[in-house]
């Protein structure tokens, strides 16, 4: 089951550059939320603050309050704990090339100390089914390396890998931008099915994608959250002129 995310006055810096300005929003549980905006507007930075990946860069800094459920992820828990509860799928699939498909999906579990074969087998199968990849790879689980799959399959495997540790939130940073249209639509179908079980935040350049999968959408511009509302409202009747300009393609 997912948790909701409350962000209050989040600011972020890369060195001296102030990349996020006072961002506040409430992401509802068990829904898909899309974040749109032009390149460099800060949406990726924002999402990386949600699982504390932002701070892995030595010159990066974040301040503000991010609460998941009743946990302040910056004050009440360590980055390691948070990242286990919050899964992330990256723009380019990044399978572990030296591991088989099975080991890739099971890697998160093994990290957390689960070694029993029976449990691992179960979870790997369940995750691959959730990621709609099971049928395609079930015979080659241990024989094929994670990197030998096609781009779309790799990304679905990365989704399975993220789901295997049973996160409450799933962050997706432009998960389909490096994929062909067929794989893209498969992943969108996936998001549609997963969102009732997890809280999904998806960053996307593709406005049609946002309109297809997300209930709520946020528009970022220059590090500020300009507007955050129900998806259909953002796309048909935005309140802010800047949002409207972006939607209608006047810049971006």
């Amino acid at each position: 089951m997912g948790v909701d995310i409350r962000v209050e006055n989040l600011n972020a810096w890369y060195g001296q550059t102030h990349t996020l300005h006072d961002v506040s929003l409430h992401i509802p549980a068990n829904h898909a939320t899309a974040l749109i905006g032009p390149s460099g507007c800060g949406k990726s930075t924002f999402v990386r603050c949600l699982n504390r990946m932002h701070e892995t860069n030595p010159i990066a800094r974040a301040e503000g309050s991010v609460r998941m459920g009743d946990v302040d992820i910056y004050k009440d828990a360590s980055p390691v704990e948070i990242r286990r509860r919050v899964g992330m799928v990256f723009q380019r699939p990044n399978p572990f090339p030296t591991m088989s498909i099975y080991d890739n999906v099971a890697s998160g579990l093994k990290l957390n100390g689960f070694r029993k074969k029976r449990i691992l087998d179960e979870v790997v199968e369940r995750s691959l089914k959730q990621a709609a990849l099971w049928e395609e790879v079930k015979d080659d689980l241990r024989k094929k390396s994670g990197a030998s799959l096609s781009g779309g399959q790799q990304q679905r495997m990365c989704i399975a890998r993220a789901l295997a540790v049973d996160p409450e939130v799933l962050l997706m940073d432009e998960p389909a931008s490096a994929l062909d249209p067929v794989s893209t639509s498969k992943i969108e179908d996936l998001i549609f099915q997963l969102k009732s079980e997890y809280t999904i935040v998806i960053v996307t350049h593709n406005m049609q994608q946002a309109a297809r999968v997300a209930e709520r959408t946020g528009f970022f511009l220059n590090g500020k959250l300009v507007e955050f509302d129900a998806t259909h409202k953002i796309f048909t009747n935005p309140s802010d002129k800047r949002t409207e300009d972006y939607i209608t393609g006047r810049f971006g």
Binding site: N51, M53, T56, N57, P58, V80, E81, I82, R83, R84, R85, G87, M88, F90, R92, N94, P95, F96, P97, T98, M99, S107, G108, L111, N112, C158, R161, A162, V165
Partner: protein, 249 residues
């Protein structure tokens, strides 16, 4: 020549001594420099490692003869005999020179090479791998282990072999501390010989063509062994680093 075989075995033996501790230490340094080190210290420390690699063999030898050998003879040797003497590896008269001393100075000499090569290999791993592991909820060491080391296994083995290849041919420092005795004993304190030190030591005493030819033949053997080790090692390192994108931090 049976004694040539024995000397080859000798060279292998003390390489084996260096084989366990040295790679781990070099790896430790490489890990420290690439992953753990604060940004500002990174350049000075790698510069220091470069300087270490530039010190000539004869200077290491000089230091070893006057500093390391007395330590081995007066402090470390007796200590080892007291604690580990039961293994039979520390028997016999201890003059400070011998297999163990040679191994130690050799280890010190090849550490910088292995270190900087390993550093290059680790830097060649793309950042996306590190992030993938971190995002699953891994500690920093786990990230290094799974995201970096696992991906560079082959290259690291290659780097170690390159270091060992260099160790094979090291002459001066080893000659000065190995004790120069053409025999194989079980004790680490016993003096010994290596392919290279044989040539260096006996050259001036070589009377007659046969003696000289024997020494040159040893040189050939050394040459061939080194070539093979180096070739295999370079292949491994090349295989890992050839597709490396520049690492953006």
């Amino acid at each position: 020549m049976g004694s040539r075989l024995r000397r080859l075995w000798r060279a292998a033996l003390y390489l084996w001594h260096s084989c366990y501790l040295v790679p781990r230490a070099a790896l430790g340094v490489a890990i420290f420099i690439t992953e753990l080190c604060p940004q500002r210290l990174r350049a000075p420390i790698s510069f220091l490692t470069e300087l270490l690699a530039a010190i000539p063999s004869v200077v290491y030898g000089l230091w070893a003869v006057f500093v390391l050998v007395p330590i081995m003879r007066d402090q470390l040797g007796p200590f080892l005999y007291k604690t580990l003497g039961w293994t039979g590896f520390f028997e016999g008269a201890n003059f400070g020179v011998g297999l163990l001393t040679a191994s130690i100075i050799l280890a010190i000499m090849i550490l910088p090479i292995i270190s900087s090569l390993t550093r290059d290999i680790m830097n060649a791993v793309p950042n996306s791998q590190r992030e993938a592991v971190l995002a699953l909820g891994a500690t920093r060491w786990e990230m290094i282990r799974i995201g970096v080391l696992r991906n560079s296994r082959i290259g690291i083995v290659g780097a170690i072999m390159l270091g060992l290849g260099r160790a094979l041919g090291e002459t001066m420092a080893v000659t000065m501390v190995i004790g120069n005795h053409p025999d194989i004993a079980k004790s680490l304190f016993a003096p010994g010989y290596t392919l290279a030190s044989v040539i260096a030591n006996e050259f001036s005493e070589a009377t007659g063509d046969l003696y000289l030819s024997a020494l040159i033949e040893i040189g050939l053997a050394l040459f061939l062994v080194t070539i093979v080790v180096n070739a295999v090692a370079r292949l491994m390192v090349w295989a890992v680093t050839r597709n490396a994108p520049a690492r953006v931090n």
